[in-house]
């Protein structure tokens, strides 16, 4: 076949590709968009959406009245308050102190820095039950830390504070690991520019560094918060699981399951899912706003 007899190159693409590319008004230079998007959707569907929608389906089987009765019962509401409250508080504390840890690890060379750096990941690796038992024995009124706090009237184990401590423990790595690389990439130039313009150290940190770290801080916060919300293993040991007082939502769900109340369990889970989805969406929007200065 002579070269002139070849069909035009464009015609060789499957029609679906052409419509897609014309819809996007310019042809992507990266090949494989269709394939990778298809894979992404299938994967997310299989791993995330199918199990989640099962919860919704199960819940759909109960009437609205029954649903409301379950999720609005005082014991469940108390658990929601505890779970969301302690998770938000833990996420916030982690955001602040995770930044400090990341700052120290990035900015100051000190002996054993690598060791401390590795230590940060420990809450990731430790089985959460081990963490829970360790924390409980430390903070109970005759534990190493608890015995010093008890005379001050501070009780940690088997209280709201205990839940908060456990959730802070497991959430720390998220903030450190998201902020660290961004902090590393910040050019020293901008701090020097700030100081030649007469800003003091505090002004430089508050007005220059924090705003530039904000997107990663929010990401870290969202991750730590989400992790805390679903945390079970470490909390059940330290919280004491007293209904209305120190009972977290995941525990309540397990309790319902153990009583073969599947619909009740999924009803609680659905409320939890929807509210955490809304919260994460809000954090995402906030994050988008905090990086509005990026090239458009």
């Amino acid at each position: 076949m002579s070269p002139t007899a070849l069909p035009p190159r464009r015609g060789t693409y499957p029609p679906s590709f052409r419509t897609m590319s014309s819809a996007r008004s310019s042809r992507s230079i990266l090949p494989g968009f269709g394939l990778s998007l298809g894979f992404t959707l299938a994967y997310l569907g299989l791993i995330v959406l199918v199990p989640l929608s099962a919860a919704f389906l199960k819940t759909a089987g109960m009437g609205l009245h029954e649903f409301a009765a379950v999720v609005a019962s005082p014991r469940v509401v108390a658990a929601y308050k505890l779970s969301f409250g302690a998770s938000l508080a833990a996420g916030f504390v982690n955001m602040v102190f995770g930044l400090v840890v990341a700052w120290v690890l990035v900015r100051y060379p000190f002996p054993g820095r690598k060791l401390v750096d590795a230590l940060v990941d420990l809450p990731f690796a430790l089985p959460t039950a081990v963490a829970g038992i360790a924390l409980t024995s430390l903070y109970s009124s005759n534990g190493w830390v608890g015995r010093w706090l008890a005379p001050l009237g501070i009780r940690v184990a088997f209280t709201w504070t205990g839940v908060f401590v456990a959730l802070t423990f497991i959430g720390l790595p998220f903030v450190v690991r998201t902020v660290q690389p961004v902090l590393q990439e910040l050019e020293p130039d901008i701090e020097e520019a700030s100081s030649t313009l007469g800003a003091n150290r505090l002004q430089t940190i508050v007005r220059i560094l924090i705003p530039q770290l904000m997107p990663s801080l929010l990401t870290g916060f969202a991750l730590a918060f989400a992790r805390a919300l679903g945390e079970y293993g470490s909390v059940v040991f330290i919280s004491g699981n007293m209904p209305m007082r120190t009972e977290i939502v995941p525990l309540l769900i397990i309790t319902k399951l153990e009583q073969y109340d599947y619909r009740g369990a999924t009803a609680i889970a659905v409320v939890m899912l929807v509210s955490s989805f809304v919260l994460l969406l809000l954090i995402n929007l906030l994050q988008k706003w905090s990086r509005r200065y990026h090239a458009i």
Binding site: E192, S194, S195, T196, L197, N200, Y293
Partner: protein
């Protein structure tokens, strides 16, 4: 405000960045500190700015006679412009410029309106007032650098320090911007030091050039002085092209009437490519015989690469294109070279 620095020393570990450097910049001048990378020029600028401190026990930095050696950067009232702009990317152009005024203590801080007015006036000065609401990521390199300049000027600095201000820009913008900087300097008359490794840039816009090499100042002078009378072989080679020829090769190459040379002198002769005269070999007379190896005629001047017959040294010559046409040269032609002007740093080999 004049700037003086006396015998500054600075070491980073084993590396010496400044080894006893003096600098004197008179009020209102635009001075270029020129040198290859690693010559210590940026360190010098940063010490003047207060972003770096000279080694303890070494020299002083004076602004208008006042000792500022121990003052931190924020208290020196310097405007510093960084090579990579260092703009605050989360702030708009306007907020960037206003930053220096907004962080002042309440009693020194101008009113909100006064800050806005000053910021807009500065943006007008750098011809960017229309872009006040943009973020740095939406600007071109040249625009960013002008924002950086406006930001530095907002705090009413007494001196302006520019670290490779055009280093990150492409050739065309660079050229425009440096001419603009010269005019700008003439307007605002602020004592300015700028660091560069680009000799063309330094020679074009500076009132005075300070040439640095290996932690030392090699020479200080007006652009013409340093170009015409380089104080050292380094300066000769750093400022424009130069041929380094072994002296014995030059016996008889000078124009007649020059002092007689000792043919055994082992010194080296420095000649700029445009200071060599080319004539046909068969015309006779004195001079160096050389063979044309390459003719590069694209550009304002023709560049010839020749090989000396006697020593086989390479010689680069620059002649006008009309001269080239008159000579009617081809590769491998034999020609005669005469040095119009040359220089030797040998004590006993004065010209």
């Amino acid at each position: 405000m004049s700037i003086e620095a006396h015998s500054l020393y600075k070491k980073f570990g084993a590396y010496t960045a400044l080894d006893g450097v003096d600098l004197n910049v008179p009020q209102g001048k635009l001075v270029a500190v020129l040198g290859p990378s690693g010559s210590g020029k940026t360190t010098l600028l940063r010490i003047i700015a207060g972003l770096e401190f000279a080694d303890p026990g070494s020299g002083r930095v004076l602004f208008h006679g006042d000792d500022v050696t121990d003052l931190p950067a924020g208290k020196r009232r310097v405007g510093f412009v960084f090579q990579h702009y260092a703009l605050f990317r989360h702030m708009s152009v306007f907020e960037n410029v206003a930053f220096g005024l907004r962080v002042r203590r309440r009693r020194d801080r101008p009113s909100r309106e006064a800050i806005a007015e000053r910021a807009h006036r500065l943006l007008e000065l750098v011809q960017l007032d229309g872009l006040a609401g943009r973020f740095p990521s939406q600007l071109s390199g040249g625009e960013r650098q002008r924002v950086a300049l406006a930001r530095a000027l907002a705090v009413e600095p007494k001196v302006l320090l520019l670290d490779e201000p055009f280093g990150a820009l492409d050739a065309r913008v660079r050229k425009d911007l440096r001419r603009w900087l010269r005019r700008f300097h003439d307007e605002i008359q602020l004592t300015t030091i700028f660091v560069t490794h680009d000799q063309e840039e330094a020679l074009e816009i500076a009132d005075e050039v300070v040439i640095m090499n290996k932690a030392h100042v090699e020479q200080v002078g007006t652009p013409q002085q340093v170009y015409d009378r380089p104080a050292s072989p380094f300066v000769y080679q750093f400022l424009g092209n130069v041929n380094v020829l072994r002296a014995p090769a030059l016996a008889g190459a000078r124009r007649r009437g020059g002092p007689a040379e000792d043919p055994n002198t082992e010194g080296q002769i420095y000649v700029r490519p445009h200071d060599i005269e080319v004539s046909p070999h068969d015309a006779g007379g004195s001079g160096l015989s050389a063979i044309v190896r390459h003719i590069h005629a694209a550009g304002p001047h023709a560049r010839l690469l020749l090989e000396q017959v006697q020593t086989r040294e390479q010689v680069e010559v620059e002649i006008s294109r009309s001269e080239l046409a008159d000579l009617d040269l081809g590769v491998n032609d034999l020609v005669r070279l005469r040095l119009r002007q040359s220089h030797s740093f040998d004590e006993d080999y004065a010209i």
